[in-house]
């Protein structure tokens, strides 16, 4: 238990400390300038842009030299059923965390689905999504979304080392999800650090392999990759939080943004 406690305090305190520190920092960051500049700052929501860009560049270096090459190799050599099995197994391991968050959100039907899926897929050791064949579709949840549902705002945009795009709410959520995970407790209690590392590595490679084309596309078609990713992350999170609750499936605020849309790009008065 002492081992687990120390491990937990290292990881947990690290996360909470970092998030808290960044919250403070962001509070100190001055929001100055003209009303237009202020509006623009609110839109990008990135008072820590300079340190964020620095960490982003570091992450990009790791990605270019390590993660992407590994993901490309994996994507090329691993047959499709193998990739599916890896993904199913990783999702299966996440079931307890998804269940906990379903419950925190009062989503009883989804909690039941998650529990049913876990039981059914245990029969195939999690490597095949048997439950989906019986109509129990997979969904994801995390504590960042739970916090959002309970009214916690995202806070300023953050780029975390190795983890990537985030914000204080999602960073805290990430830490909480780690602590919620029984597999992590098992690993910490039995001093099997390799479990956490292997799983983190597999998750990273799987996720990267599945986003190879999308990220290559964004990189090729954006002028400022950092800014494009920032926008993508924030829209995607807003959609994940709003989507499953019957909200509009388009990005939050997109409908508002189109209130001023000028067809043909010409002012109404000149038409």
């Amino acid at each position: 238990m002492t081992q687990s406690t120390s491990y937990f305090s290292r990881i947990g305190a690290g996360f909470f400390g970092m998030a808290a520190g960044l919250l403070l920092l962001s509070g100190c960051a001055t929001m100055g300038g003209t009303p237009e500049e202020k509006a623009a700052q609110a839109e990008v929501n990135d008072p820590l842009e300079i340190p964020n860009r620095f960490v982003f560049a570091l992450n990009e270096t790791v990605d270019t030299f390590v993660l992407r090459p590994v993901a490309v190799t994996y994507d090329f050599w691993m047959p499709e059923p193998g990739k599916d099995a890896v993904r199913n197994f990783l999702d299966y391991l996440r079931s307890p965390v998804i269940l906990a968050n379903d419950l925190f959100q009062g989503e009883w039907d989804r909690a039941e689905t998650t529990a049913t899926r876990f039981v059914i897929n245990t029969a195939v050791l999690g490597v095949y999504d048997l439950a989906a064949d019986y109509g129990h579709e997979k969904h994801s949840e995390d504590f960042g979304q739970t916090l959002a549902l309970h009214g916690v705002g995202e806070g300023p945009y953050l780029v975390l080392p190795l983890i990537g795009p985030s914000n204080p709410r999602d960073a805290v959520g990430f830490g909480v999800d780690m602590v919620l995970d029984p597999l992590n407790w098992y690993a910490w209690n039995t001093d099997r650090d390799w479990i956490g590392y292997t799983r983190a590595g597999a998750t990273a490679v799987d996720a990267r392999a599945r986003s190879l084309e999308a990220l290559d596309d964004v990189k090729a078609n954006s002028l400022d990759y950092y800014a494009a990713i920032r926008s993508l992350y924030r829209q995607r999170r807003a959609a994940q939080i709003g989507n499953q609750r019957g909200a509009d499936s388009t990005a939050d605020g997109a409908s508002d943004a189109y209130q001023d849309y000028l067809p043909g790009g010409t002012d109404a008065k000149t038409r």
Partner: protein
């Protein structure tokens, strides 16, 4: 992970509209049925054209350009993407920007087109968004992996439709691009020419 769902299917979503051979439907534009048909037909024709191997690269680009202008409100999107910076540009800068914007959007979609590998477009339903817009929900079905949700924002244009935005799994292409372009101008101290320069450089590289 967040981006994984975009994948190459984003490409197909885009092509769906680009390659359609017919102009916007001339029928009653405020009818959801017409809106779904518009997207469905575009998708079908797009896939027919994708699989047409007889087209040379040059022809394909010029075809893209025509289809793009027929089915997308290109100048409107271009202006939307600039947001508040549109007004900071001189008329000459606006002109050049719109030209570069059209060129870059054509190249982008042409490149995505090349990655087509058997995806299919299934249109679900359409709903009105305010008086002026229709949102058409669709799914891109991929040969492997889960389907990708794509929502098309259409503008009711005097009895026809023009696409003004493509939303892939909750991510709006236009909103993303606006963030991207604004950042270029902003990090150059509000200098509009910096954006034009970056766009020109990007085009000359492709």
């Amino acid at each position: 992970m967040i981006l994984s769902t975009l994948r190459k299917t984003m490409a197909v979503a885009a092509f769906g509209c680009m390659i359609a051979l017919s102009p916007a439907s001339p029928a009653q534009a405020d009818n959801p049925q017409k809106a779904t048909t518009f997207i469905q037909e575009l998708g079908g024709k797009a896939i027919d054209t994708i699989t047409d191997k007889s087209l040379a690269e040059e022809e394909r680009l010029s075809k893209f350009r025509t289809l793009l202008n027929q089915n997308f409100d290109v100048p409107g999107i271009g202006r939307f993407v600039l947001g508040r910076y549109w007004r900071t540009a001189t008329p000459e800068q606006q002109q050049e920007y719109l030209k570069l914007f059209e060129e870059s959007i054509v190249r982008t979609y042409a490149a995505r087109f090349r990655e087509y590998s058997g995806e299919k477009l299934a249109v679900d339903n359409a709903r009105a968004d305010g008086d002026r817009f229709m949102l058409v929900d669709s799914k891109i079905q991929r040969p492997s992996g889960p389907p990708v949700a794509v929502t098309w924002r259409l503008f009711n244009d005097n009895g026809g439709f023009k696409i003004v935005d493509v939303v892939v799994e909750g991510v709006s292409m236009s909103v993303t691009q606006r963030s991207d372009y604004s950042s270029v101008i902003q990090s150059n101290g509000g200098n509009f020419d910096a954006l034009l320069k970056a766009m020109r450089e990007r085009l000359s590289r492709v």
